[in-house]
Symmetry: C2
Subunit: 276 residues, 2 copies
């Protein structure tokens, strides 16, 4: 196979398997090419990704070595996208009762989900994440998008028992805006002990739901490796949680005046982009 | 930019935008290359994808023309994956009460979701789909995976009212195993009139839930463009729905004897793979 064909196939193959370590002999065999040619191909791939600030190709030396594609977005891409997203969120048509914001179009748009997923996966690209966790329903697409780029499984806490999942562990938590105590649960078989869990959710008011998820993770003797939300309500004074990151901060929601103010959140300032 | 670099970037760019028509002048400008060079690049990309039976590159001639990447999987890949999936589903540990089958690991695994999404998107690659629809909770990851490869939005019917979605339309339906009447609803703003909707779900017993979704789509004066489920219970005699496709058929679930039998479903026989 020619270099040009190898590069097309290699790019596709690696992009479909983020974070997987692929041994060089695998490519050498797949293309019937010398290892030195494969190394040259990978060098082209690496610098093309780096030039676009859109992905890192890591080469691991030695007998157990190989090559790994790490989805990683440059700071300028991140800033540009979050600024655009915040502006789109400022549409007053999004205002719903109770200070909530309509986000289902964004959370159901593959192009947004890819960018959001890539961005959160960039932040945690070099963290040790075994699994992404969220709670039904609207966090699910976010969890899936992040899990895809980290190439780890994702799991979903449920708000009520379902017969189709077997035994569960449950915790109580204070749900949205501190007004009531609810219950969330996770099937016992979905999470192993000592897992490193990245929590994600679509919208955070005071953080009660995330606190519930943290508690649930602890019940499984596992660790919180990070907490990241798409939007956080910055106007909510009483926060039940610390150390979380957000893609967008909602500064104000005024249903009467039809005003919603949003800006990029804390994620970018807490991401080390110097990896290219 | 050299051909080798262009090919890496072009492959990545097109893969990130399935079904989008990209005008050739866009690439010519992006790479500072002649249109004839871009055409040669695209020819390499096209035959490399075709050789692997993993994707179609369509060129559209004329002033409004360009190039489009269509995720499309060859029949052999499809057969191989579905046979493997059916075998994995035959694990007796998956048997749950009521003839249900534990599938959350598959529905939360990015590698499975990519293959499942690509397979369903192959079947509907040349159908006119505006939106993918499912019902919470477990169908969501499936809908997202399919929507990603068709590059259309996906929407989620809910089982109960949520304050965060505004006005809704609701219908009643006969839920799992015909034992009770439930309600499902969809926010009015998520679906436009005259949309072509592809329905997907994780597990079908008699099909009551899918019937409810069909009814809901009709309430929005929209059309059902297809119905596809991950697993259908072949042992369930009374079917409320016709013309649906399945990736896997569950032939038997016996909790006492710890036996579960599965085989590839009807999707492959109803897919035209002669497109490469």
């Amino acid at each position: 196979m020619k270099r040009s064909e190898r590069l097309v196939d290699m790019t596709k193959y690696l992009m479909e398997r983020p974070h997987d370590l692929i041994p060089l002999p695998f490519f050498a065999k797949r293309y019937g090419a010398a290892k030195s040619s494969i190394s040259e191909d990978l060098a082209i791939l690496k610098h093309t990704l780096a030039d676009n600030q859109d992905g890192i190709l890591e080469t691991v030396a030695g007998a157990a070595g190989g090559v790994r594609y790490v989805p990683f977005w440059g700071k300028k891409h991140a800033q540009h996208y979050l600024q655009d997203l915040a502006t789109r969120i400022e549409d007053p048509e999004r205002i719903l009762a109770g200070g909530f914001v309509y986000l289902s179009d964004i959370l159901g748009n593959p192009q947004d989900l890819e960018k959001i997923g890539k961005l959160i996966a960039t932040r945690y690209a070099y963290a040790d994440i075994d699994v992404v966790m969220t709670i039904e329903t609207k966090g699910i697409s976010l969890a899936q998008a992040v899990a895809r780029y980290l190439n780890v499984p994702f799991i979903i806490a449920r708000k009520r028992s379902k017969v189709t999942e077997g035994a569960t562990v449950s915790v109580n938590y204070i749900s949205s805006s501190l007004d009531r105590v609810s219950k969330m649960e996770l099937p016992t078989r979905v999470l192993k002990e000592n897992s490193n869990v990245l929590l994600v959710d679509d919208f955070m008011m005071a953080g009660g739901t995330l606190t519930g998820m943290q508690q649930l993770v602890r019940e499984f003797n596992s660790n919180i490796a990070g907490v990241c939300v798409l939007c956080e309500a910055d106007f909510e004074d009483e926060k039940l949680i610390e150390g979380h990151l957000s893609l967008v901060k909602i500064k104000r929601v005024d249903g009467k005046k039809k005003v919603i103010l949003a800006e990029p959140g804390t994620l970018i300032a807490h991401t080390d982009f110097n990896r290219f």
